[in-house]
């Protein structure tokens, strides 16, 4: 019997079995940012400890950075405080920090792969639930809390419970207008927002194999929205081609040797899985969330669910969501008027996402009542987009072209919804209040659908929109 990637990586990083039965797992790459770490450094200091292997931790600043004016000191005093604390902690402990002056700053889950820090076969931890993104390159990557950040800083290890593996086989060609975002929203809708608890999701099948690295990241990114702390794709030629030549990837002869090791860490053909789910990719249509968790979605041309037709345990949830969203059971999401359009985030803030959005808006203009912004996932994404002239396309269409950061995905900076505004968003969470206004409303969709909604001023079906060219 063969092994899964998860089992191989787990075994290679196991230090020992702890007395309580947990595994002491070595963490190969620790990523940190300004929000979930200052308290961890304080805890470390309180115990008189230092960072044990500072070269294995990499820092950046993303959550609180303003995207309009990034000059220091930030006008926002709290944001400046948090950034300064990170700078001080990194300096004191010898941790490398990629801030704005480096040209490599960005959302932690965008810059890790971009710099080649993220590699197959690694264990990666970060105080952020979307760390599952890095699984797209065949790493075992997961989010942790601040006390666990302290543990990694102090010992480069975590005490972990074993995980089961569910293979999600996605087969068939995606229809025109259907993107990786629609695939993961479909998976979450089918398996539920807690269906993945206790599991790592292995995404496989010909559909996944054909996806680019950016698209695989979109899928792995939202594993956590389905309850799975870890999501990964087995490393293959797409992975190796992506990594070749990147700054922290092995260079020269080492690269070929590394490919051999990386390939050996992929799941064996005869590996056994705790569960398997099959998804027919050909039947997926452009998807939009209508509710207050990422499992509450419909195809854009499908009616919204009605509590009276739902299974008993789901009724209260549907009722609450429809009422918060101000939507009517049985109506269509298409035609819902939007106030804000947001392209960005660790889910869909990469160059290919910006290209897809730009394709839709080229030669068109944002509807007069819509506030639209594009926030590149990193400084290099922004620069690459500008080299292609994407910034001009966005600006000419009436979008704001911003600096890199998390921005309106969670609104810890000045980019926020106001009142009950509705936002067409390429981000990952539609929770109540997520985008900065307690009563603000989020519709999750692909970047192309966000761009189309920005132009139409309402949710549209990208397939018809493009046809209308």
């Amino acid at each position: 019997m063969g092994s899964t990637l998860l089992e191989k990586v787990w075994d290679a990083h196991t230090v020992r079995k702890l007395p309580n039965g947990q595994t002491q797992l070595f963490i190969g790459l620790h990523l940190i940012h300004e929000v979930t770490t200052p308290q961890a450094f304080d805890m470390l200091r309180a115990r008189g400890w230092h960072v044990r292997l500072p070269e294995r931790t990499i820092a950046t600043v993303d959550h609180i950075v303003p995207t309009r004016d990034q000059r220091r000191p930030f006008l926002d005093v709290m944001a400046e405080d948090m950034f300064s604390a990170l700078e001080r902690n990194c300096r004191d402990e010898g941790i490398r920090l990629f801030d704005m002056s480096t040209g490599s700053q960005g959302i932690v889950h965008v810059i890790g792969p971009e710099m080649g820090l993220t590699q197959p076969g690694m264990t990666i931890a970060c105080g952020d639930s979307h760390t599952s993104t890095h699984g797209a390159l065949g790493a075992v990557a997961f989010g942790i809390g601040t006390s666990q950040v302290r543990d990694v800083l102090a010992s480069q290890c975590l005490a972990m419970e074993p995980m089961r593996v569910r293979r999600i086989m996605v087969r068939g060609r995606l229809a025109r207008g259907v993107y990786a975002k629609d695939v993961i929203l479909e998976i979450i809708r089918r398996l539920g927002v807690k269906g993945g608890v206790g599991y790592a999701y292995e995404y496989a099948g010909d559909t996944v194999e054909r996806l680019s690295m950016d698209e695989r990241m979109t899928i792995c990114n939202m594993s956590i929205e389905g309850g799975a702390r870890v999501g990964y794709v087995n490393p293959d030629q797409v992975t190796f081609d992506y990594l070749r030549g990147r700054r922290f990837a092995p260079q020269g002869d080492d690269f070929e040797q590394a490919c051999r090791w990386w390939r050996s860490m992929a799941s064996d053909a005869n590996a056994s899985y705790d569960d398997q789910v099959d998804i027919d990719a050909t039947s997926i249509r452009p998807t939009v969330t209508w509710g207050i968790n990422p499992g509450q979605s419909v195809y854009v041309d499908e009616p919204l669910p009605s509590p009276s037709n739902a299974a008993q345990p789901d009724r209260a949830g549907i009722d609450e969501a429809l009422s918060f969203m101000g939507l009517t059971a049985g109506s269509r999401i298409r035609g819902t008027r939007i106030d804000v359009a947001f392209v960005g985030s660790c889910t869909n803030g990469r160059l290919s996402d910006l290209r897809e959005a730009a394709k839709v808006i080229r030669g068109r203009h944002v509807a007069p009542h819509v506030r639209a912004l594009v926030v590149p996932g990193s400084q290099p994404v922004r620069l690459a987009a500008e080299r292609e002239g994407l910034d001009r396309i966005f600006i000419d269409a009436g979008f704001d072209w911003r600096g890199a950061g998390c921005s309106m995905c969670l609104a810890m900076n000045p980019d926020k919804l106001e009142g009950r505004e509705i936002c067409a968003s390429s981000s990952n969470r539609n929770f109540k209040g997520r985008q900065g206004s307690p009563t603000g409303r989020t519709l999750l969709m692909s970047p192309a659908m966000v761009a189309a909604a920005a132009v139409a001023g309402e949710v549209v079906d990208i397939r018809e929109f493009v046809n209308g060219d």
Binding site: D151, K194, V197, N293, M412
Partner: protein
């Protein structure tokens, strides 16, 4: 370092019904704009509380009759979403010492272990009964017993579950893992040396 053994939590209950209550709702992101966890308890469920108040209703966390509760009662997938430890920190600082629920997100569960706040599970019917008992009599004494693995409300008893590793960590007082992880650092270094991406030796 010596850590408190957690075997039994007693006190009054706080029922908080609803599935999929995410950490953005427990503590909205704007309250994470700080370099400490201090004062988070003042903003626990801030937006939910205000919206209910505006609608003429009261959130359980703001209900006077539940003030001073130490056992939180929740439904399924509690603490999903963001990994922010601020969520269990806010709950713990509010005065909660244990949570009884149908299920939790893994990250929330792990964060709570690290704070010494057990999150035990019970089935849907038990939670419904526990919540009803507390709603009817907020003064009823709840006991979460990690040795006997049961939760009690007065004379009524309910079976609870907790993964064995977490249970042992509480009972033995080893739930703060850092010391344990540092115990044999030479073994950590040995693992690091064997990993090609750490050692830089690919062939």
């Amino acid at each position: 370092m010596a850590i408190e053994k957690i075997q039994r939590i007693e006190g009054r209950g706080l029922p908080l019904p609803g599935d999929n209550i995410d950490t953005d709702r427990i503590i909205p992101a704007r309250f994470l704009r700080s370099i400490t966890f201090e004062g988070l308890e003042n903003h626990l469920f801030e937006d939910d509380r205000q919206q209910l108040a505006a609608a003429g209703s009261t959130h359980p966390v703001a209900e006077k009759k539940y003030a001073g509760a130490t056992v939180l009662l929740v439904n399924a997938n509690f603490g999903c979403g963001s990994s922010r430890e601020h969520a269990p920190q806010a709950i713990r600082r509010y005065g909660i010492r244990a949570v009884v629920g149908e299920s939790y997100s893994e990250i929330f569960f792990g964060n709570s272990v690290a704070l010494g706040m057990p999150c035990v599970t019970a089935d849907h019917a038990s939670l419904a009964a526990l919540m009803q008992l507390v709603e009817e009599d907020p003064a009823v004494q709840l006991v979460v017993d990690l040795e006997g693995m049961r939760a009690s409300a007065g004379e009524k008893h309910f079976k609870i579950a907790l993964p064995s590793a977490a249970r042992e960590s509480f009972l033995e007082g080893t739930w703060d893992a850092t010391g344990l992880l540092l115990d044999r650092f030479e073994e950590v270094e040995a693992v690091a040396r064997r990993l090609p991406y750490v050692s830089g030796t690919w062939s």
